[in-house]
Structures are given as C-alpha cells and as structure tokens.
C-alpha cells in the first residue's frame, strides 16, 4: 500500500480505468470529452465551472487539472478565486438553508 491516499502522479494514470472495464471507461471518457467541448457555453466558461466544482467536491486531482487548464486558457488568478468563492457560497448556503429545517423542527417541538 502507498503511504498516502492521494498521489499527484496518479492523475496521469486516470485513463487506465478503461483497462478493467473498457466499455464503461470509454463511454465515460467520450462523455467527459464531449461535455467540455465549446457549446452554448465557451470552453473557458466550462473550465471555470469545473474549477469551482473541483473545490466543492474537494477533489485534489481535479483542482490540479483545472488550475492548470485555466492558466493555459489565460484565465487570471482573480477569475479563478472568484469562481472558487461561487462554489464556496453555494456550499455554505446549502448548509445554512438547512437552518430553516432546524427552525421548523424547533418550532414544531417547542410549546
């Protein structure tokens, strides 16, 4: 066993998942590639969305990949940080909006 759960060098081995299930692996990578093609959204916009989601998913591989992808596209660090804040705002909002459920429950249970 390796000493840590995450190894940066594993990212470039991602494609190897097809070795143990070629059909599903290829279907996934085809889908993935298609998703990031320019469509109604530009590839640049998609890259920033991916960067924000990488943070909310707390995926270190994805953060490495989409930070580099952003730099390659000329995306500035100010834009990247704003995107991360968008993800963070949704994350914290999602926590806090459950506060209403807590309030509802308190109101129901208390006399």
């Amino acid at each position: 066993m390796s000493k840590t759960y995450y190894d940066p060098a594993d990212l470039r081995k991602f494609g190897n998942i097809t070795e143990w299930n070629e059909e599903l692996g290829n279907k996934f990578f085809d889908y993935y590639g298609k998703v990031f093609e320019p469509g109604a959204l530009t590839a640049r916009e998609k890259s920033l969305i991916a960067l924000a989601v990488s943070h909310t998913e707390q995926c270190p591989y994805c953060i490495d990949a989409y930070t580099k992808d952003g730099l390659q596209r000329g995306i500035t660090k100010e834009e990247m940080m704003e995107a991360v804040h968008v993800g963070a705002a949704i994350k914290s909002g999602a926590t806090l909006v459950h506060g209403v459920q807590m309030m509802n429950k308190v109101n129901k249970l208390e006399m």
Partner: protein, 351 residues
C-alpha cells in the same frame, strides 16, 4: 526576478553541455519517458530531415534591454555577443541568392545592434517577400534613439512580431520585468498610429504569446480572441495575429523549471501532448538559423544549445543551399516543445 543573464551569474546552465546532459538524463535515461528520437521513430519520422528552405532566421546578437524569466537565448544587457558588419555582409550575400521567401531578424533585441538599420536597408533592397523583425516592444520606448523605430519599420514595410505574454499588467511584468507592460502598451499604440496592426493594413503586426509558467499554451485562436477583445477595450489597440508558442525546456526556462521543481511534470506534459502531425511541420524543416557569429543551426533553440547543422557546410561564409537541403536535423528532448498539442514554431501553431 534576476536582472542578470545565467552567463553573468556563472550559473551552470549557461553551459550548453550541462543543459544537454540534463535533457538526456533522468526520466529519459531510465526509460520512464521515451526520448524524442524514439518517439518520432514510432511514426517512422526518424531521422527528421529538412525540406525546402523557406525562412532564414538571423540572430543579430544576444544583447537585450530586458531580462525575461523564460528567455531561451539567455539575453540581457550584459550579453555582448553582437553580429559584426562583416558577418552581416556575408548574410546579405546569402540573402541575395537564397530561395527563401522570409527573412526573420531576431536577438536579443535586434534593434540594439549598432548596424541594425544599415542591415535592414540593405536587406530590404533585395526585396524578400516577408521581412520580419522580432521586436520586444519596450525597446521602442527604451531610449530616444529608438523612438522613431515604428516609422523606420513602416518605411521598409517590415513585418513586426512582438512578444506579449498577457493582456494584464501583473502577468506580463512577472515574466518580462517591472514596467514592461505599460511600455509595451505605449509601443503598440505608437505602432497603431503609423498604421501597423490595423485590420486590412499591409503593415503586419503580430503578437507572440508564451505561457508565463510551467504550463502549455491553450488554443491559439481562443487566446487571440481574448487578447483582441481586452487590448481593444482597455487600450484601443489593434493587431493582426497571435502566435501561441510553447516554452522549450532550455536555458533560463530550464533553470526555472528545475528551481521550481516543475521539470519532471513539464516534460510529462510535453510528451503526453506529443502530436505526430506537428512533427511534419516543425520549423526546423523549412528554417535555417544563423547566429551572431555566422554559424548555421536548424533553429534558434539548437543555436542556444550549440547544436550546429549536420552538414559539410556549417558557417555562413561557406553557405551552399543545396548542400544544406535534406540534412538530418539535430534533435534532443527539447524538441518535444515544438510537437506538443497543436505544435509550436516562431510562427505559432503548426498542426
């Protein structure tokens, strides 16, 4: 950022043999990554051979007013290697009889060569089709004696190609030095004033983008659109094309890669992005690079690694175009820089 060249700092990477040693060892010696020779052999492209000569690229000297962090020439104010008038004369003799349609002047800052204008005037008389000067822009603002360069370029219908790593001040100055962005913007505006870069103008102004860090350039067309939009909106600047160029792992960029512990990852990125289609059109197949002291190389990068042409003719004084055709190109692992993704050359993507 250091204000001195690797050479002036006595950095071990000023030694070209040391650089070639690094590029041949490590990942490539253990077989973790294939050497460039092995990689191109997979698609039957070894040995890489030159085709018809189209571009003569002349390096007028390594002196420069800037000390860019990524510079493959290791250029700077402390470099004194400058082409003499005698070597220029030998170049002119070659320009007169060459079959090449493009003459590409580079450096350092080629304008800092004291005989630059004389050479341009003489070369212009020959009437070569595309006459390029690679200008770093700030030179135009560096000293009063350079202020009229835009007019000089215009007089000889020189095609100006200039470096501009980003449309924001922060990224530009980090790579090229403090104040470079503002001076570059002013220089571009002055070039626009005399007619350079205006849509439809025959005064061609192109920009070169290369990444300011250990990553590859993105899509050239998308970057061009972003540059055009930002430079127009923020500074009313027009230009024609953007060339996206990959940084090759030599000289100061190699020093940076090693010091920042990005070398291995960068080499992986280059090898993973290897594109055999780009190999077909790499610039060494149609270019000849001439150094300040008249030696002949397959490209400016090989010049900086002191890898002279594999030919019985090695110097401008004994130039023979026929003998230079179909020569085997000198290759090493730095060549992966020109074959990654859409490829890279002094004219941008090649695939």
């Amino acid at each position: 950022m250091s204000k001195k060249s690797l050479l002036a700092r006595n950095n071990e990477l000023a030694n070209t043999e040391r650089q070639l040693n690094i590029l041949s060892n490590g990942l490539f010696a253990t077989g973790e990554l294939p050497t460039f020779a092995k990689k191109i052999a997979e698609t039957n492209q070894f040995p890489l051979r030159s085709k018809k000569l189209e571009i003569l690229q002349i390096n007028l000297g390594y002196m420069c007013n800037q000390v860019c962090a990524h510079c493959h020439v290791d250029a700077g104010p402390d470099r004194k290697e400058i082409m003499t008038k005698e070597t220029m004369q030998q170049c002119l003799d070659v320009i007169r009889k060459t079959g090449a349609h493009t003459l590409d002047l580079t450096g350092g800052a080629p304008e800092m060569n004291p005989n630059f204008r004389w050479f341009v005037e003489e070369a212009a008389k020959v009437g070569i089709k595309d006459f390029i000067v690679r200008s770093n822009l700030t030179i135009i603002r560096a000293n009063k004696k350079y202020h009229d360069l835009p007019k000089f370029f215009k007089k000889h219908t020189i095609h100006v190609i200039s470096s501009m790593p980003h449309w924001t001040r922060g990224k530009t100055d980090k790579q090229r030095g403090n104040g470079v962005f503002d001076k570059s913007i002013k220089a571009l505006q002055e070039l626009n004033v005399v007619g350079y870069g205006i849509p439809g103008s025959k005064l061609q102004l192109d920009l070169v983008y290369n990444p300011s860090g250990a990553f590859l350039p993105g899509d050239q067309m998308a970057l061009e659109n972003d540059f055009k939009k930002a430079l127009k909106e923020d500074f009313e600047i027009d230009f024609h094309n953007l060339f996206a160029i990959t940084n090759l792992p030599i000289s100061r960029f190699l020093d940076y890669l090693i010091a920042s512990e990005n070398y291995e990852e960068y080499m992986y990125s280059l090898v993973e992005a290897y594109n055999p289609v780009a190999v077909e059109n790499v610039m060494c197949t149609n270019t000849l690079s001439i150094s300040w002291d008249g030696w002949l190389y397959d490209c400016d990068f090989n010049q900086m690694l002191n890898l002279k042409v594999n030919s019985s003719v090695k110097h401008i004084s004994e130039y023979n175009e026929e003998l230079l055709q179909n020569r085997n190109i000198s290759i090493n692992q730095h060549c992966y820089g020109c074959t990654a993704g859409a490829g890279s050359s002094c004219q941008g993507v090649v695939a």
